[in-house]
Each structure stands twice: as structure tokens, then as C-alpha cells.
């Protein structure tokens, strides 16, 4: 008997017990679609909402992958990609005597899209954020505020989500001490999924989620190509940032700058002179020229040739003390003066290894102080904007996990630097003249040895699809790329093989953990036969899920899913 493939997958889901029998009014294709919607709508709504906010049909992948927490998709290091709370929830502190209410914790849920319009309110330049609204309860009433602050500083502790801070509650006493002196959003989250550095920094800058600013992940589709979000400078960020508009409105008199590590963090500031009427804002990074990965760092401050035309790198920054100056104090932070921080060598000959230690934190703070002083941030009455990303916590999360002692000590070292940052702002800008917003762009993934989670291999997922569906014998693969939340599909090749995104999704729902186990953390026999995924569905389906109707602006509107 010949059974159409679509029927096969309808049946497979039924047999697997993943869905209920569909009603009688459906064609087989519709039944399969309904079943995929059924499994997807069983996912907690907040996870779907985050995914919807991060979805763009023209830029994103074609199939969404959602394992059951604490499982995750990852390969060669711990990722931080998915809609789960442990990556989505972040600290958010606003602090600035005279401008920010000293009220401690606020329980209202907020997202990082709210930061840009809050800056607008502070500076008297309203910013109509696509997805955010001003955090007005944090602000001292306008009539009671003095002139706008001379400087607003946004500081991102990269990767220091709430899950990380909650894991090491004794490691951040300085931040904790500031909570009651400012406004702390206890239910802050990034807002969209997947939450990687490029897209969340762009959300901070634009007040928009990926759906509206265009940077959907660290691999995105431009036409038929897969590329990365900053390879074409800021050209793929097709939304305005607060700094773009404010700086131009003020005739480029404000000093605007980013002191960070890699270009994918520049979205929190903006387009620089790529924006019409904009100027070359200050940007100091340490990105390796021509690096194969987005996070590859060099030892010297720089701007890669890719982004250099649109920003300004102050010439003096590499005249500052090198990172080796901070080796001695770092060496002692793990309790032993042995030339190492934990297992990492503090050795001038291996300076790049030292970038994975707390030595990079004072190295960067020295840069911040010098740039603030020499550029005159906050030195006049034209309010300035400074954006900072400290990246150690993220590095450690990838290397050792959020549960590691290295993470404990990294959070401690990052927190220990907070008073120095405040002191330098007080010294160079003046007490009561500045506002600090401190947050993170995502959390980190629990160690599978701690969580018991299964690590699902992206190549194994791709191979499973290939083996099942790519039977036409040519060299073109159905799967172009698999990332932790999505599969990018060559749609022409898929059609040539006579299959659909729905059928591939249904198949993946029947794949077991054992089939796609990553190997580094072997799957236990007890769970080996369990389905690898909680939900798998064509990405465009997120626009039509009945369970999201009425829960999102523009959901179900065709316009909402197009650029």
C-alpha cells in the first residue's frame, strides 16, 4: 500500500501520542498543520510570545526547534539561545540620584525595549519605540528633576542574566546595595527569542524587538545567503536607534560612544554616520579583523575595517596600560598567587588567554575613564550618551557554564568594579549629574551535569533531516544550517525532494534524544527514547497560532511579519 508522506507524518504524531486525533473536516495537509499547531500551542505562552517577537520571515530560519527545558540545542560550547526564562530574564537597574526614584524593586514586567524610550524621557526627547514604553515609575517626576542629566550610561554585563546572578547571590553585593538607591525591575526580560548579543543590543538601542529591527540572530538570511548581522556594518539594522535620532536632533553636539568588545554590540548605540545627518560616534572595540566567529577578540583596542568608516576610534586608546598591567591583581583573585586565574594563564605571551579572566575588567574600566575624561563626556550641558559592554561573564558562561566557580568569581570581579565605575562618573561628570542603566543581554545555560538536560546536536538534527528526506541524489542539501533555535532550509531543494516544512517538522517531533544527542554529555538510558523536541513547526506558523490571538499586537496580520 502506498501512503502519501503527509499522511505518514499525521500518523506518526498520532502513534507517538503527541497529538489528538484531528476532526473530520480536515484534508491531510490541514490535519498535519493542525497537529503541529496543537503541539506548539501546548508550549507555555510566554515562550511563544518571545519567539514571535524574534521572528522575521525574510531574515530568519524556516523551522523552529524547541526542546523541553532543560534540554537545549548546542554544539561545541554552551549556547544561550532559546525562549526559556533562564536566558530571557535579566537584571535591570536604573540609578541616578535626582533623576531616578530610590524605591528598590518594582514588580511590573518590563523588557529591554523599554530602555530607549526611558532615555528619551530623561533627556526630554521623546522616543516612539516600536515595542517599548518609558519606565516612567522609575523617573523622578519631571517637575522635580533638575535639567536633564549630563550623561546617561547604559552598561551591559554581557550574559549576566538573572539565572546567573541568582546562582551566585553572594557575588554581587555592590549591585545589590544599589537596588534600594535606585529602581530595580525584578521582572525584566530581554523580550524576544533567540536572545543573542546582536539582537538584544539592537533592542536596547531601537526599543524594538528583532521582528522590527531586523537582526534576528547571529546567522540571518539576506536573500538566498546566510550571513551575520554586522558583516555589512549596520546596514542590516533597519530601524532607528534612540542615539541616531537624539544625536542628529541636537546637531551632533552630544558625545555618543560605545566602549565594548565586538561590533555586534554596536546596535545599542546606532548607525554612526551611516544614518543620514549622523556623525562618526565613538566606538572602541577589540574585534579580530576577519575573524571567523562573531565573538573573536583581539588584544588591542580597534575598529575593524568593516565598521571603521562610520565610527571614530580615538587614537590614544592603545596608549593606555596593556592588559598585562592587571595580571597581578587578577592572579590573587582565585586565592592563589600562581600566575593563573583558575586554570587560565596570566602570561604576557598568552595575553589572549587572559581575556578570559577578570584582568579584562579593570583593563576596560581604565579605557572608560580615559575616554570619558578626554572626550568630555558629561562635561557640558548637552547631555551625552555612553554605552558600555563588559563581556567576561558571557565568555565564562560559554566556557565553563553559569554553575562554575569561574562564573562565581567572574560575577564577583565584575561587581567589584561597579564602585570604580561610579567613582569615575562622579569625578568626571559630577555627583547627581548622571544616570546609569545596568542590565544584561541574556542569561546563560545551566551545566547539563547540573540540570540533567540533554544537549541536542545541530549537525545531528541536520543529518536526521537529510537522511529522512534528501533522497534525490544531488549534491544540494535540504538543510542549509542549523542553529540552536532554527533550521534554515533550502526551500527549492526541499520541494525537489517532494516534501514540506510541515512534514520535516512532524518528523523531528518523532526523533528521540538518543538520535540527536550531542555526545559531550551522553544521554542517559532513562530518557534516550524520549522525543528530542517539545515543539517543532514551520517558523511562519507563529503568525497564525490560535493560542496567540489577542495576546500580541498585530498578531495574525500579514503586515506584521514583513519588514
Amino acid at each position: 500500500m502506498s501512503v502519501r508522506p503527509v499522511t505518514r507524518w499525521v500518523c506518526a504524531l498520532l502513534v507517538a501520542g503527541l497529538v489528538a486525533v484531528p476532526g473530520p473536516a480536515f484534508t491531510q495537509e490541514q490535519a498535519l498543520e493542525q497537529q503541529l499547531m496543537q503541539t506548539t500551542c501546548a508550549v507555555p505562552t510566554e515562550l511563544l510570545v518571545r519567539t514571535w517577537r524574534g521572528h522575521r520571515a525574510d531574515r530568519g530560519g524556516d523551522i523552529e526547534l524547541l526542546p523541553q527545558e532543560p534540554d537545549f540545542v548546542g554544539h561545541g560550547g554552551l549556547p544561550h539561545s532559546g525562549p526559556w526564562d533562564y536566558v530571557a530574564e535579566v537584571p535591570l537597574l536604573l540609578y541616578g540620584p535626582g533623576y531616578i526614584e530610590a524605591q528598590g524593586a518594582v514588580e511590573r514586567p518590563v523588557t529591554l525595549a523599554d530602555l530607549a524610550p526611558t532615555q528619551g524621557d530623561l533627556l526630554g526627547f521623546p522616543f516612539d519605540a516600536p515595542d517599548g514604553a518609558s519606565l516612567t515609575e522609575a523617573l523622578v517626576p519631571e517637575g522635580e528633576r533638575a535639567a536633564p542629566p549630563k550623561l546617561v550610561v547604559v552598561v551591559v554585563w554581557d550574559g549576566a542574566g538573572r539565572a546567573v546572578l541568582d546562582e551566585w547571590p553572594a557575588s554581587w553585593p555592590n549591585l545589590e546595595a544599589l537596588i534600594d538607591e535606585g529602581t530595580w525591575y525584578d521582572r525584566a526580560e530581554v523580550g524576544s527569542s533567540p536572545p543573542s548579543t546582536a539582537q538584544i543590543h539592537a533592542t536596547i538601542g531601537t526599543g524594538a524587538f528583532s521582528r522590527n529591527h531586523g537582526l534576528v540572530s547571529h546567522t540571518l538570511r539576506i536573500g538566498d545567503r546566510l550571513t551575520d548581522p554586522w558583516v555589512a556594518r549596520s546596514r542590516y539594522l533597519t530601524a532607528a536607534t534612540f542615539a541616531d535620532l537624539y544625536d542628529r536632533h541636537e546637531g551632533n553636539r552630544p558625545i555618543v560612544g560605545t566602549l565594548a568588545t565586538v561590533a555586534i554590540q554596536l546596535g545599542m548605540m546606532g548607525h554612526g554616520s551611516l544614518w543620514g545627518g549622523g556623525d562618526q560616534d565613538i566606538a572602541v572595540l577589540r574585534e579580530r579583523e576577519g575573524a571567523a566567529t562573531l565573538g573573536a577578540e583581539g588584544i588591542s583596542w580597534n575598529l575593524t575595517s568593516n565598521v571603521a568608516p562610520y565610527y571614530r576610534l580615538p587614537g590614544y586608546v592603545n596608549g593606555l596600560p596593556p592588559i598585562t598591567e592587571y595580571f597581578d591583581e587578577t592572579d590573587r583573585q582565585d586565592g592563589r598567587a600562581d600566575g593563573q586565574w583558575h586554570e587560565l594563564h596570566l602570561d604576557g605571551a598568552r595575553a589572549e588567554e587572559a581575556l578570559r579572566t577578570p584582568a579584562r575588567i579593570p583593563f576596560q574600566t581604565t579605557l572608560i575613564e580615559e575616554v570619558v575624561r578626554r572626550e568630555g563626556f558629561g562635561a557640558d550641558d548637552v547631555p551625552d550618551l555612553l554605552y558600555v559592554n563588559y563581556k567576561l561573564i558571557d565568555e565564562i558562561g560559554h566556557l565553563y557554564s553559569m554553575n562554575s566557580v569561574e562564573m562565581r568569581d567572574s560575577v564577583k570581579a565584575q561587581d567589584a568594579e561597579l564602585p570604580a565605575l561610579i567613582d569615575l562618573l562622579d569625578e568626571h561628570v559630577g555627583e547627581g549629574n548622571w544616570v546609569l542603566a545596568l542590565t544584561a543581554d541574556h542569561g546563560h545555560t545551566p551545566d547539563p551535569n547540573v540540570s540533567g538536560g540533554t544537549v541536542i546536536s545541530p549537525p545531528a538534527v541536520a543529518d536526521a533531516i537529510q537522511a529522512e528526506f534528501d533522497t534525490d541524489g544531488d549534491d544540494t542539501r535540504i538543510v542549509e544550517f542549523t542553529q540552536p533555535t532554527q533550521v534554515f532550509v533550502d526551500l527549492d531543494e526541499m520541494r525537489q525532494n517532494g516534501t514540506t516544512l510541515e512534514e520535516i517538522s512532524a518528523y523531528l517531533l518523532t526523533v528521540t534524544k538518543e538520535q540527536v544527542d550531542e555526545g559531550q554529555y551522553p544521554v542517559t538510558p532513562e530518557v534516550a527514547d524520549e522525543p528530542a523536541f517539545l515543539a517543532v513547526y514551520p517558523s511562519s506558523m507563529i503568525d497564525d497560532l490560535p493560542c496567540l490571538e489577542g495576546k500580541l499586537p498585530d498578531h495574525g496580520s500579514a503586515e506584521a511579519s514583513t519588514p
Binding site: P22, P24, D128, G223, T227, G277, D463, V479
Partner: protein
């Protein structure tokens, strides 16, 4: 989303098929075929360096697209060169207002797909707002998909 139309497929039929196909389906899921090689990680492709002129916004794409948008009076002209190896869907343009970020679609007149290896010119009808001096970003679309921003005239060069 409305209810789907009725069909001949019934739930009973599906249930019967389910039982009949169970072994086949699950067998396929756990087949012991050797998987092919890992899907290669997409390596970033570097776009050509920005090329600008005083008159035009220039768009280049590593896939082999070169476009130029020249603002002329109340309108504009868009030329698209396609060396991607495949036809390009019809071009479109939107702009972001440099003052408030508002998005405005400009109409590419008689927009049509651009065949591989060819260059086509299109008239563009601009909205009254924003004026040319208030353009923040010009964004290239093909088939309605966002291909990213044009590189603007550089500071110091009149547009």
C-alpha cells in the same frame, strides 16, 4: 484563522491509517542509516567595501547585486545590476526618516524581476516626507524582503 474546508478524510480513516503505518513511521525514525557529513557552518561573507558618490545611495551585496538610487527632483531613479546567478524578485525601497525613524515606502514604478546578468532602471515615486535632506536610511527590498540599507553619500558630499 477560519475553519478549514471539509474533506473526505475522516478521523476514523486517520486512526486506521495510524495503526497501519505505525511500524513504518517509527521504523523510519530510528533507522540506522549512517548520517551524511555535518552541515557546514555558514561562514560569514564579507560585503564589498562601501562605494559612495555625492549623488547616489549605493547598495552592494556579496551575492552579486549592485544598486544605485539617485534622487532627482521630486522622484528618484533606481538601477539594479544582478550578477547573483539567479533572477532577482522585483525591487522595492523604503526609507526611515532621520528625525523620528518613521518608515515610508517609496513606489518603484513598473517594478519587475531583474534577470540574471542584466541591469534594469526603474523610476521611483517618492513620498513628500521625508525630504531628501531628512533621509536617515534607505533600505533595499527584493520581493518584499529586506536586503539591508544603502550606503549614503558620505559626510561633506552634497546629495
Amino acid at each position: 484563522m477560519g475553519l478549514p474546508p471539509r474533506s473526505r478524510t475522516t478521523s476514523l480513516f486517520l486512526a486506521l491509517i495510524a495503526v497501519a503505518m505505525a511500524a513504518l513511521s517509527l521504523g523510519a525514525c530510528t533507522s540506522g542509516e549512517d548520517p551524511p557529513a555535518d552541515d557546514a557552518e555558514a561562514s560569514p561573507q564579507t560585503s564589498p567595501p562601501p562605494v559612495t558618490s555625492a549623488e547616489s545611495y549605493v547598495f552592494t551585496d556579496a551575492a552579486g547585486i549592485e544598486a544605485r538610487l539617485t534622487i532627482e527632483g521630486d522622484g528618484a531613479e533606481l538601477t539594479v545590476r544582478n550578477d547573483t546567478g539567479d533572477p532577482l524578485a522585483e525591487p522595492g525601497v523604503f526609507v526611515l526618516d532621520a528625525r523620528d525613524g518613521a518608515r515610508t515606502t517609496w513606489t518603484v514604478l513598473e517594478a519587475a524581476p531583474v534577470p540574471e546578468g542584466s541591469e534594469m532602471a526603474f523610476g521611483v515615486k517618492r513620498a513628500a516626507v521625508p525630504e531628501a535632506k531628512h533621509i536617515g536610511l534607505v533600505v533595499m527590498l527584493f520581493g518584499g524582503e529586506d536586503y539591508g540599507a544603502f550606503v549614503p553619500p558620505q559626510p561633506g558630499e552634497a546629495s
